[in-house]
């Protein structure tokens, strides 16, 4: 009896479930009925019509310099699109004439489309890219004769000033690989920044594609806007970017660096903003605009113009590094400014001698900086390394390494510029490994005293050192993007990074640097050529050995002495003494930036720099 009852209840439940099933089916079918038959919203026409998505490309954000000058703008160009299914017989010669291309080009293209007609279907394909408006206008006049052909507006990059080719980077169409690396963000036909600022700030600059939806009738002709454009999406232009670059200074730097290999980096010390960053040889902006055409010749160029030396080339810093060793010595208490050391054209140790140039002896600290005495800094570094406070040279060396790292050396500074390299500062482990523990001593690493040996730093590092000295003990991470509407920069670009050397020590170094420039010819100051009356430039020369040919010429300076406005580093490969090339170049930059022009008495110097051609000295591997 109960079993029977249970069975009845069960079959009752089965019925309920089946009724539920039918109800769900009815719901699905009703909704389908509504969207397929009742509602016009989702239905276009029963006659094989469909929608055509016409992509509207956004204009990329404009890149400005610090004074609001446009570094990179946009200009209009036209792509010619073909919809092969709509093409009728046409006059190939007339079209070729209008578009200024050989008729065979069109014939080949059309033959290709016929081959791939199934793949293309009703879609449009790009036949010609980036035509200038003059040519497009000629085509537009006779467009009615060529059904299936139409123009599509694209905005491409335009460079009003020839400044900062390497810095800005280029934009080109995304390839399959790029799309794979950025899934869902790019479609074939989109453009993207590939290097420099264009790449670093791609997300802000790129904007967003929009589309217009058109309806196509059964003869595949576009008839009207779908729902009067209600469902269209307008392209959203990219954000503008304001850089810290001074366009005039950048351009002037590029002119000075013509026919020289190396770089100049100028920083505003109080903010860490990069005013100019020249890497020579650089890419001409006209090449940049049409990179696809010139890509091969750029890649083949033995001087590697794509290589941004300012942030990517690790060089030995040479004598400018004496400033760092001096500051460490002062801080560690093993050096006082009035200590004097002798120099007899070098520093002798064992049977070796580290040479120096001819100057009077002995010298005190300021004079040693002013005259860039090698021996003096060998003594200084020796007393750092053999400081009795530390048990072994390993400990002393590690301490030294900590100091050096606090200046930003040996690591990426963290600038917002892509592809920055960190350079190299050796560690005690490195020497332990190379020579064995306790098997090395100061004389083994003596070249570090004068910025040679295992040290590798980029020109950006050197400029940052200069800014640190100018600020009396701190730097702000150098950066190239300024905060502006809609573009934020990271908080670290406002933060003062103090070195481990007390800020009170710096004025002693600065005195030496001031005397190096402003003591007049004949005083022994190494950088007298950089002196500009009234500007109070403080500087330090450097001459770094280059295993490939002549020495590299290095110079850092900042000005004015109080409240410095600019700190600059110039590094010229195979150019000899610091005073010969780097020194005039950097000082001309400073003068240009602070005064706006070059004074009459320094015109010949400018002339000499601009005419100078050091390319024959540079050995390309």
């Amino acid at each position: 009896m109960t079993g029977n009852n249970e069975n009845r209840q069960r079959s009752f439940k089965e019925k309920k479930l089946l009724i539920g099933l039918i109800t769900v089916a009815a719901i699905l079918l009703t909704k389908l009925f509504v969207i397929q038959i009742v509602d016009d919203k989702y239905k276009i026409d029963a006659l094989n019509n469909s929608m055509v998505y016409d992509i509207v490309y956004p204009t990329r954000g404009i890149i400005y310099d610090r004074n609001g000058k446009i570094l990179v703008g946009n200009k209009v160009a036209y792509d010619i699109l073909v919809t092969p299914r709509q093409v009728q017989k046409f006059d190939t010669l007339a079209l070729a004439e209008a578009l200024k291309i050989p008729p065979d080009f069109i014939r080949e293209k059309m033959a290709g489309y016929t081959k791939e007609r199934r793949k293309i279907g009703y879609q449009s394909v790009v036949m010609l890219k980036q035509l200038p408006p003059e040519i497009y206008m000629r085509f537009a006049e006779i467009q009615y004769k060529f059904p299936g052909f139409r123009g599509q507006v694209r905005s491409i990059r335009d460079y009003p000033i020839n400044a900062g080719g390497n810095l800005l980077g280029y934009v080109s169409e995304v390839d399959a690989d790029y799309i794979k690396r950025h899934p869902d963000e790019y479609k074939p036909g989109d453009y993207a920044g590939k290097t420099g600022i264009e790449a670093a700030r791609e997300s802000e600059l790129k904007g967003e594609n929009g589309y217009h939806i058109y309806l196509r009738n059964s003869r595949n002709q576009i008839e009207t806007r779908y729902k009067n454009g209600e469902m269209d999406k307008e392209a959203i232009p990219g954000h503008d970017i304001k850089t810290t670059i001074d366009a005039d200074l950048q351009q002037y730097g590029q002119e000075l660096m013509k026919n020289k290999v190396g770089s100049i980096v100028a920083i505003e010390p109080s903010t860490g903003e990069i005013l100019a960053m020249v890497s020579s040889p650089c890419i001409d902006v006209n090449v940049l605009a049409d990179i696809g055409k010139h890509y091969n010749e750029i890649i083949k160029d033995p001087y590697k113009p794509m290589f941004n030396r300012a942030v990517q080339a690790p060089y030995p810093p040479g004598s400018v590094f004496k400033l760092v060793n001096g500051l460490i010595g002062l801080q560690e208490g093993v050096l006082t400014p009035d200590m004097e050391y002798p120099c007899h054209q070098g520093y002798a140790y064992g049977s070796h001698k580290l040479g120096c140039h001819n100057h009077r002896s002995p010298l005190d600290f300021e004079e040693a900086i002013m005259m860039s005495c090698n021996s003096y800094f060998c003594y200084v570094t020796k007393s750092i390394m053999e400081n009795k406070e530390y048990r072994t040279i390993d400990d002393a060396f590690d301490k030294w390494h900590d100091y050096v790292e606090s200046f930003g050396f040996g690591k990426k500074l963290g600038s917002d510029f892509p592809s920055e390299l960190g350079g190299n500062i050796p560690t005690s482990e490195y020497y332990d490994k190379l020579y064995g523990k306790n098997r090395w001593k100061f004389t083994t690493i003596i070249s570090l005293s004068i910025g040679q040996g295992e040290i590798g730093v980029t020109p950006l590092h050197i400029a940052n050192l200069c800014a640190t000295v100018a600020n009396r003990g701190y730097y702000i991470i150098p950066h190239i993007i300024k905060k502006s509407d809609g573009v934020e920069i990271e908080p670290k670009y406002y933060k003062k990074q103090y070195t481990k050397v007390d800020t009170l020590q710096f004025h002693k170094v600065i005195n030496g640097m001031w005397r190096a420039v402003n003591s007049g010819f004949g005083s022994g100051g190494t950088a007298s050529i950089a002196a500009v009356p009234g500007l109070d430039i403080c500087g330090k020369t450097g001459t770094a050995q280059n295993p490939h040919g002549a020495d590299n010429s290095v110079f850092i300076c900042f000005a004015p002495r109080e409240n410095p406005k600019i700190a600059i580093a110039a590094y010229i490969e195979n150019a000899g003494f610091g005073a010969t090339w780097a020194c005039p170049i950097a000082s001309l930059m400073v003068e240009k930036y602070l005064e706006g022009k070059i004074s009459e008495e320094r015109k010949p110097l400018e002339e000499r720099v601009m005419q100078g051609n050091l390319m024959p000295n540079v050995k390309t591997k």
């Binding site: 989702y42 929608m51 793949k119």
Partner: protein, 494 residues
């Protein structure tokens, strides 16, 4: 004897199911071809394209089906569930650590060119396990121990799959509740799930106040139906619910009037009036009734009232945690999909893109569709995932309402047939397993088609037998053919 056997062989297989299966497979195959047709013109057998690979899956699927039907003794399925269930569970856990990541979820194993998803086989192993446990003689779902065991069997794989962030596959397990209902679970459980979804949606699109009001109304209504004098009670309920609905309005009037009257203590009065929301008043009134109700329940020995109070409190908890669940537990994409579905945000280019495109594709099919290979929306790639999860768009566009209706009716017929077969069989194992199969197919059907036509949020699960993909095709084939084999064994009793 030999003749007898041959007759058995032919008659005992449920050919209606097999034919349904074959027709669905062919529809799927043709539409997978159509969905990629004009982008990649190729032969339907070309192995480098999806339709060609699908051909391969179909042929191997047939072989699997034949093996299950003719080579494996149906008794095998009654002995295998425990090891199989544990093995698949282990696979499900392993895939979290060793699987590859596809679209944000770690649920695929990759062996060279072949990928497979353990979540798909887990449907089979769970169904077999349920059938075995629940067909034991002394099993009764109303026993708490048995109920708990069943819940664990369903819950374990479901939780692991959720951890793989395959929400869709996990949701399918909710469908087993219909099987449990058939096996004696109270209908109130289904009711409660439905109510929870309703409250969730109401809280999101209307307000917590509305949700609480509806909750009170429904619970009250359920209580009234138990009384003899239904109509007067119903009228009283309707009137009081209407009165309660005016609370926000009345409260607004009072607090407005209170401010000028209070004079000197404006700020205090204002603060009190402003800080008490009408919904708290409503809840306050109801909670005041609770002791009275408990007393009444005790006096009449009416446990239904107690259950009502408990459900009310649960419902309340859900309503107040909705905001939290929605904003903090759901993932970004899930939240957006729900927002689009409920019309809280219109976003035709972002998250709404899929649904909008899919509905345009289906809608443009009209009554009779554009014809085979003539679809433009799907084959130009406007609809994403068009050969897998959105395969129904191709059917909708190229075959129109008639095609869609045919496909849906075919599924309904298949589910109906499975349920009838299950009811007819004597062995509870076959019956329970049959219901499990029906539930799985039903959930996939409802979720997948519901998603393409904008009835439910976008949840990526395949359409059984139709969507491109070996894992899904094989597992549904095995799922179905185990049932056909079991049922064939049954028929020999007739």
């Amino acid at each position: 004897m030999r003749n007898q056997h041959e007759r058995d062989f032919g008659q005992s297989v449920d050919w209606k199911l097999v034919i349904c299966y074959l027709v669905l497979i062919i529809i799927g195959w043709v539409n997978v071809y159509a969905s990629i047709h004009s982008a990649e013109p190729a032969s339907i057998f070309d192995l480098s394209y999806r339709c060609g690979k699908q051909t391969l899956w179909i042929i191997t699927g047939f072989i699997l089906a034949a093996v299950i039907l003719f080579a494996i003794n149906p008794g095998f399925w009654q002995s295998v569930p425990i090891p199989l269930y544990l093995f698949v569970l282990a696979l499900l856990v392993a895939v979290i650590f060793f699987g590859i990541e596809v679209k944000g979820s770690r649920s695929w194993f990759e062996f060279g060119p072949v990928r497979f998803q353990p979540a798909e086989i887990s449907k089979i192993s769970t169904s077999l396990m349920l059938a075995m446990i629940m067909s034991r003689n002394n099993y009764k779902i109303t026993k708490p121990g048995n109920f708990l065991l069943t819940a664990i069997i369903i819950g374990l794989p479901m939780l692991v799959i959720l951890a793989e962030s395959e929400t869709g596959s996990a949701l399918v397990y909710v469908g087993f509740i219909f099987m449990l209902y058939r096996e004696g679970l109270s209908g109130w459980y289904i009711m409660m799930i439905g109510m929870a979804i309703l409250l969730f949606i109401l809280t999101l699109i209307a307000s917590p106040f509305t949700a609480v009001l509806v909750l009170i109304g429904v619970i009250w209504f359920c209580n009234i139906t138990n009384y003899r004098n239904f109509i007067p009670n119903f009228l009283i309920e309707a009137a009081s619910i209407c009165f309660l609905a005016f609370i926000p309005h009345i409260w607004g009037q009072i607090s407005e009037a209170a401010v000028p009257a209070a004079g000197a203590v404006i700020s205090t009065a204002e603060r009190i009036a402003g800080s008490i929301k009408p919904v708290y008043l409503l809840i306050g009134i109801i909670v005041l009734c609770i002791p009275f109700l408990i007393y009444k329940a005790y006096k009449n020995r009416n446990s239904f009232i107690l259950a009502s109070i408990l459900s009310f409190l649960c419902g309340l908890a859900l309503i107040f945690s909705t905001e939290f669940i929605f904003n903090d537990i759901l993932q970004e994409h899930q939240r957006k999909r729900i927002e689009v579905l409920l019309g809280m945000k219109d976003d035709p280019t972002g998250v709404g893109y899929n649904v909008n495109q899919s509905m345009i594709a289906i809608g443009s099919g009209g009554l009779t569709g554009k014809g085979f290979l003539n679809g433009t929306q799907t084959s130009y790639g406007f609809v994403p995932e068009q050969s897998t999860d959105f395969i129904f768009c191709t059917i909708g566009e190229e075959w129109g309402f008639i095609g869609c209706a045919a496909v849906i009716l075919l599924y309904i017929f298949m589910i109906w047939e499975i349920i009838s077969d299950a009811e007819r069989s004597r062995d509870p194992f076959t019956r329970i397993y049959g219901y499990c199969v029906a539930c799985c197919i039903f959930m996939h059907l409802f979720i997948n088609i519901g998603m393409t036509i904008g009835l439910i949020p976008v949840i990526g699960i395949p359409l059984p037998f139709l969507s491109y993909g070996g894992s899904s095709l094989w597992s549904f084939t095995v799922l179905l053919f185990i049932f056909i084999a079991l049922y064939r064994e049954e028929k020999k009793y007739f």
